[in-house]
């Protein structure tokens, strides 16, 4: 067991070193950009994973934190001149606050399962309409971010800059998940996921744990929002609160492996790769997405525990070998 653990640690370290070197190794900005999108998806997926994978609270509206964070830092910059590298903390706070708000309403009234999933969907839609109708978000016109590459603007004139920022965020998200797997808080979340009543009987304060989880997910989503606006420079209500991002968050996580540290990363990598490869070979409109959808169904059909399940099974076998 011990050797397995240290070997896993080494593997992670090697992976990190490789990830750091990639912009040096791969002399191709497209790969860097796609990897950046992979990391971005993985980060968003991890935000969803903490609440959905570990705590078992599936949401269909994970985007609501992303959108809130995106608006927070954009508005802080536009209306108060606060640079995004400070604004991102505002976005994190706003995301967490949104988490607390939705969490309080949902968990206070004991919403679980589909009901929780649907109320998050409703909240995302609610805030999309609000963002569309009030002045300070720019309404339907949206918010334009000036093109101004510099570190203080969290804008970079080469893809490697965004890559490293996304990498940093992803590493932090992996560390959060790693900490979850080893901490009392994480154990409580998993216990709540498996059986909330039993967890409460054993001294787990389910309401508080779920609140913390949704706030962490919210904070992460908020940070992702700032990253997005500084890279793509425009924000409007459908981008901020559209269902597409919510779906992507749960997709990469479930495909990768629910409630696992690397699930969202693996899922994001595989799904983005499939999308890019399919798009490259199939130019006729629609065809690439048909293939993408079929592969998605295939993955679910053949790997019911997500892609991570593949590695897991192997690892379990190895662990068994060690014991013998």
């Amino acid at each position: 067991m011990k050797s397995l653990k240290s070997r896993n640690g080494l593997l992670c370290l090697a992976g990190l070193v490789l990830a750091l070197l990639i912009p040096q190794i791969i002399d191709n900005n497209f790969y860097i950009d796609v990897l950046t999108l992979v990391l971005f998806s993985a980060f968003l997926g991890q935000s969803w994973n903490i609440l959905g994978g570990y705590a078992g609270q599936f949401s269909f509206g994970g985007v609501v934190f992303f959108g809130t964070g995106a608006y927070a830092s954009s508005i802080l910059f536009r209306s108060f001149g606060i640079d995004p590298w400070i604004g991102i903390f505002g976005a994190i706070a706003a995301g967490a606050a949104m988490g607390a708000f939705i969490g309080f309403i949902s968990f206070r009234y004991g919403l679980k399962g589909s009901y929780f999933a649907l109320i998050t969907l409703a909240f995302a839609e609610f805030f999309r309409i609000i963002a569309n109708s009030v002045e300070f978000t720019g309404g339907g016109v949206g918010i334009f971010i000036d093109y101004n590459p510099s570190l203080t603007q969290l804008q970079f004139d080469n893809p490697a800059g965004y890559y490293y920022l996304a990498l940093l965020m992803t590493v932090i998200s992996l560390l959060i998940a790693w900490w979850l797997e080893r901490s009392r808080f994480g154990a409580s979340l998993v216990a709540i996921r498996e059986n909330e009543e039993a967890a409460e009987a054993l001294g787990v304060n389910a309401f508080r744990c779920k609140m913390y989880a949704i706030c962490i997910a919210g904070a992460m989503g908020g940070a992702a929002g700032t990253f997005y606006t500084q890279k793509f420079l425009y924000l409007d209500p459908p981008i901020a609160y559209g269902i597409g991002t919510s779906v992507e968050m749960l997709l990469v996580t479930i495909v990768g492996g629910l409630g696992t540290i690397f699930g969202p990363l693996v899922g994001a990598f595989v799904l983005h790769s499939i999308n890019e490869v399919a798009r490259h070979y199939l130019e006729a409109p629609g065809l690439s997405m048909i293939v993408y959808g079929l592969i998605l169904i295939g993955i679910v059909g053949f790997l019911p525990n997500g892609l991570i399940g593949l590695f897991r099974r192997r690892q379990k076998k190895m662990a068994g070998g060690d014991d013998a």
């Binding site: 080893r182 901490s183 009392r184 154990a187 409580s188 998993v190 216990a191 498996e194 059986n195 009543e197 039993a198 967890a199 409460e200 009987a201 054993l202 001294g203 787990v204 304060n205 389910a206």
Partner: protein, 248 residues
């Protein structure tokens, strides 16, 4: 240690528990027995904070815990198990027990050490890395017990931990419970298996139709005509009801 007075609960006009009072003395094994539907589990649920009583109070170590949340009650040192076992299905035995152990420490190593110690105590050492949903019925019952024990309670509420076990398994678990009592943990249990009750209990309360009808030492209870009546009469009534509904 535990003092229940005037506890009542009804569901949609039907009284499940009415005006029940009882006392659990420290260091003893106390049983709560009664036929099916007598309100035993409802009583437990109220004591452990899972149901709000309509009236009455629950005092635990001189503190009023009526209506307190389950996790708070657990922190205070009283923990329950479930009649229908509620394992964290996808976690291993060790991880299951650790959830309980985390009640007293946030240190992972400490929690794991405690969990291993308790697994040994209840005889689950061999199945530590087994997923909970792959355990046998007896294994699950033990796990239920181990998890509760890991929260380091001073009062343990056991809801039919012997139901569904064979005589050998029952003997084993009776042994385990006695040992738990010997470590200074008070045990308050609901039980159906009369033999076990006789064997285990220092004192017993009998509930029927939500009302406390008798109490005493196991021998006194066994000879109490009210109790015999309640069990037999109800049993007979039950049989007739089943036959009646099958014809309908």
């Amino acid at each position: 240690m535990l003092e229940i007075t005037g506890l009542s609960k009804s569901f949609g006009g039907l009284a499940a528990v009415s005006n029940v009072g009882l006392t659990v003395e420290e260091g003893k094994i106390i049983s709560l027995i009664g036929p099916n539907g007598a309100g035993k589990t409802t009583l437990f649920a109220m004591v452990a904070g899972f149901l709000k009583p309509d009236s009455g109070t629950v005092m635990f170590e001189d503190q009023n815990i009526t209506g307190m949340k389950p996790h708070r009650i657990c922190e205070l040192g009283m923990v329950r198990t479930f009649q229908v076992t509620q394992p964290f299905a996808k976690l291993t035995t060790l991880e299951n027990i650790m959830v309980g152990a985390y009640c007293r420490t946030s240190n992972r190593e400490l929690a794991e050490a405690n969990a291993r110690r308790i697994a040994k105590q209840v005889g689950m050492k061999a199945s530590l890395d087994q997923a909970a949903d792959s355990l046998t019925v007896a294994g699950r019952k033990r796990l239920e017990l181990a998890r509760a024990l890991a929260t380091q309670p001073r009062l343990l509420l056991l809801d039919e931990v012997m139901a569904g076990l064979n005589p050998i398994e029952i003997d084993e678990i009776v042994d385990v419970i006695k040992k738990i009592r010997d470590t200074g943990v008070t045990v308050f249990l609901i039980e159906h298996v009369m033999k076990a009750v006789m064997n285990l209990s220092d004192y017993a309360y009998v509930l029927n139709d939500g009302v406390r009808i008798a109490d005493g030492t196991p021998t006194e209870i066994a000879n109490n005509p009210d109790v015999i009546e309640a069990y037999l009469g109800h049993g007979a009534a039950e049989r007739m009801r089943v036959e009646g509904s099958a014809n309908a």
